[in-house]
């Protein structure tokens, strides 16, 4: 198996699906000649042609709307948001057109809206946002937030093959940071299956995206102190694998939820509520959350570090939880 970065793994999924299925095509800004702002689709147009790697005007509503129209007419478009922050400009198409079509018409809208999200890279309030919870709240959109290269490939494949709209959050900080073995050829991971990435018995950290790496670092540190911490990567917010999370809560009796997105009305609140509703009597401590401070993601490194969660913040919260 080849070692691929997170970015290469996503590109591999797109390429493999485009080779397999003529209906799959890409549309977005600067994706053909330039290969995308992060070069994820570099050279794609050479293999697939400019029709299937369609450079579009700076019109997120038109990009997502055209993807929806094409999906209604038999295609399986993958729309790139140059930065996931700009999905706001295509928001209406996703939450009002795409998300309601199955419910209203019984017709699937097989589109993927994907792009780089997340902070920690010294961008600014407009190139760092983690907005996945907005779509989890929309009803009718699947939401995917992979943390590892192999998962990113498998989940992207599943997202393209899914008959429903999927919003796919790639973490730009992970794009070139991690490399791992990624299965070659067609590789799909079902949406809605959490992954227990580290087993433990004294407490659980439930996380997704970049926060999975914070959780793993914290768990490793805690193991040196004699604590055994389970880490669950939920991988997809919608569908949400409640059973895997509840099983772990019932086993370890202590749960901390970590995500890079801001705290209030973040998806962690939803996870906490599900655990409280269904596993309350198993808990030995209150459910805790580590998330970004409720602020736009700031620019200067000092501010950004202070506002965003990281491994140290997860570690100290977990220490508190384990000794509660």
């Amino acid at each position: 198996m080849p070692q691929l970065t997170y970015l290469e793994a996503i590109a591999d999924a797109l390429r493999t699906e485009m080779r397999r299925d003529e209906r799959v095509f890409l549309l977005g800004e600067d994706i053909a000649t330039y290969g995308g702002a992060f070069k994820l689709t570099k050279n794609f147009h050479e293999e697939f042609g400019r029709k299937r790697v369609l450079d579009c005007p700076i019109s997120e509503s038109a990009i997502v709307g055209a993807a929806i129209g094409a999906a209604l007419n038999g295609m399986r478009p993958v729309a790139e948001m140059q930065f996931m922050d700009f999905v706001t400009c295509g928001f209406n198409q996703i939450v009002n057109v795409a998300a309601t079509t199955a419910y209203r018409w019984g017709i699937g809208v097989p589109i993927v809206v994907r792009g780089p999200s997340g902070g920690g890279v010294g961008a600014n309030p407009f190139h760092s946002r983690n907005s996945e919870a907005w779509f989890a709240h929309a009803s009718g959109v699947k939401v995917v937030c992979p943390a590892f290269p192999a998962d990113a490939k498998g989940l992207m494949t599943a997202s393209i093959r899914d008959n429903n709209p999927v919003v796919f959050y790639e973490h730009k900080g992970l794009y070139r940071k991690i490399k791992e073995e990624v299965p070659e050829g067609e590789y799909s991971i079902p949406l809605g299956k959490a992954n227990v990435v580290r087993e433990g018995k004294n407490g659980t950290i439930v996380a997704y995206g970049s926060a999975v790496h914070f959780a793993l670092a914290a768990a490793e540190e805690l193991s040196k102190e004699g604590a055994s911490v389970e880490v669950i990567d939920i991988r997809t917010l919608v569908p949400f694998d409640q059973e895997t999370v509840l099983a772990s809560a019932r086993k370890t009796n202590r749960v901390l939820i970590a995500h890079e997105a801001s705290l209030t009305a973040g998806f962690g609140g939803e996870i906490a509520a599900r655990i409280a509703e269904h596993a309350f009597e198993y808990l030995d401590a209150p459910i805790m959350r580590v998330a970004a401070y409720d602020a736009p993601t700031p620019f200067a490194p000092t501010l950004e570090k202070a506002v965003l969660p990281n491994a140290e913040k997860v570690l100290s919260a977990m220490r508190k939880l384990l000794t509660y």
């Binding site: 095509f25 029709k51 299937r52 579009c56 005007p57 019109s59 997120e60 509503s61 038109a62 990009i63 997502v64 709307g65 055209a66 993807a67 929806i68 129209g69 094409a70 999906a71 209604l72 007419n73 038999g74 295609m75 478009p77 209406n92 198409q93 009002n96 057109v97 309601t100 199955a102 419910y103 209203r104 018409w105 019984g106 017709i107 699937g108 009803s139 009718g140 699947k142 008959n163 429903n164």
Partner: protein
């Protein structure tokens, strides 16, 4: 010149200029669709007054020529993305009254299973894709639909609609620009019925004609009298031909008048009486009827017979639908996603 909608201009009704593209049987067919749209409208208004139709009832009275004449210009593979005053287009595309009534009255068997109402349904077999409420949103979708067929080398045309209000949305701009850049076979009918809810054109835009925007997009644009169905038809036939030849989208602004309130709850007291009188004389059905009578294509008795039959059919559809129950509550929990 916006005075077209004021009473200052000449009040002689311009005669219908016969199109060379139409046969008499086609004329009768178009006339029938217009009458059907009008009678459907009147029936919905009655149901609303009787408290038997809930939700908004949006009259299309005044819009018949625009809606029917444009949809009539499409071929049997083309697709229609109608808006809320385009019931005429549904009829042109072969929709039956029972299906419509079930949708409008949200009864069991509605294509939308009660999840939504009015003309918001999709009927893939009939190539009708209803709108969502958000104005402007369907333009990029209608464009994307034919982007897909164009990629496959098919030449189908997509027609959609927007109002004098909805054409001020960002999605109008993005959709038309995208379609123009990609030279998509899209025909966008801008129905300028002088009002967007209570707002006259002066609140909505500052350009002279909405079709002038075509210049800025690099597509084709034309403003026409939207109460002359033969003119609407012929203009749209040309737009559809251009689209098929790969010459890109057209913006066709049809000038009409919304003869009632935004919806039935609205008494439209903000509309000057003289303005309504001016347009009353240009009623698209009256105009076409006098043309058909004067050319002896139809007799007065023919018109009465057609209208009577349409009214009976609509009544039968109401009787059929109104007796049916609302969809089962379980439907509310289904189909958030498809398999």
């Amino acid at each position: 010149m916006k005075s077209k909608s004021t009473a200052k201009e000449s009040t002689t009704i311009p005669p219908i200029k016969p199109s060379k593209l139409l046969t008499d049987p086609q004329r009768v067919e178009m006339f029938r669709y217009m009458l059907q749209a009008r009678e459907f409208d009147l029936a919905m208004q009655r149901l609303n007054r009787q408290g038997r139709a809930f939700g908004g009832v949006y009259s299309q009275t005044g819009n018949e020529a625009s809606s029917v004449g444009s949809a009539y210009a499409l071929g049997n593979k083309d697709v229609l993305f109608p808006m809320h005053r385009n019931i005429g287009g549904h009829f042109v595309f072969g929709q039956d009254l029972n299906t419509l009534m079930l949708a409008f009255l949200a009864r069991e068997g509605s294509l939308m299973r009660g999840t939504d109402g009015t003309g918001h349904y999709a009927d893939i077999g009939r190539r009708i894709y209803g709108n969502i409420s958000h104005l402007g949103a369907m333009i990029p979708v209608a464009a994307g639909f034919v982007l897909a067929s164009k990629m496959r080398g098919e030449t189908i045309v997509s027609m959609t609609y927007i109002g004098d209000g909805g054409s001020q949305t960002g999605e109008f701009h993005e959709g038309v620009n995208f379609a123009s850049v990609q030279k998509l076979p899209l025909v966008l009918i801008i129905e300028n019925n002088q009002y967007a809810y209570s707002s006259p054109n002066s609140v909505e835009f500052a350009c002279e004609k909405l079709s002038d925007r075509a210049l800025g997009y690099g597509c084709f644009g034309e403003t026409i009298d939207g109460t002359d169905i033969e003119l609407v038809y012929e203009t749209c036939v040309r737009a559809v031909e251009r689209a098929r030849k790969g010459e890109g989208p057209s913006l066709i602004e049809t000038n009409t008048m919304r003869m009632r309130g935004h919806a039935e709850h609205d008494d439209f007291s903000y509309v000057p009486k003289e303005q309504l009188e001016y347009w009353q004389k240009r009623d698209p059905i009256d105009r076409y009827q006098s043309f058909l009578l004067s050319k002896k294509i139809l007799s007065a008795d023919d018109v009465t017979a057609i209208r009577t039959k349409l009214i009976e059919e609509i009544r039968a559809a109401i009787d059929y639908a109104i007796e049916l129950p609302f969809p089962s509550a379980e439907e509310g929990f289904k189909n958030i996603f498809v398999d």
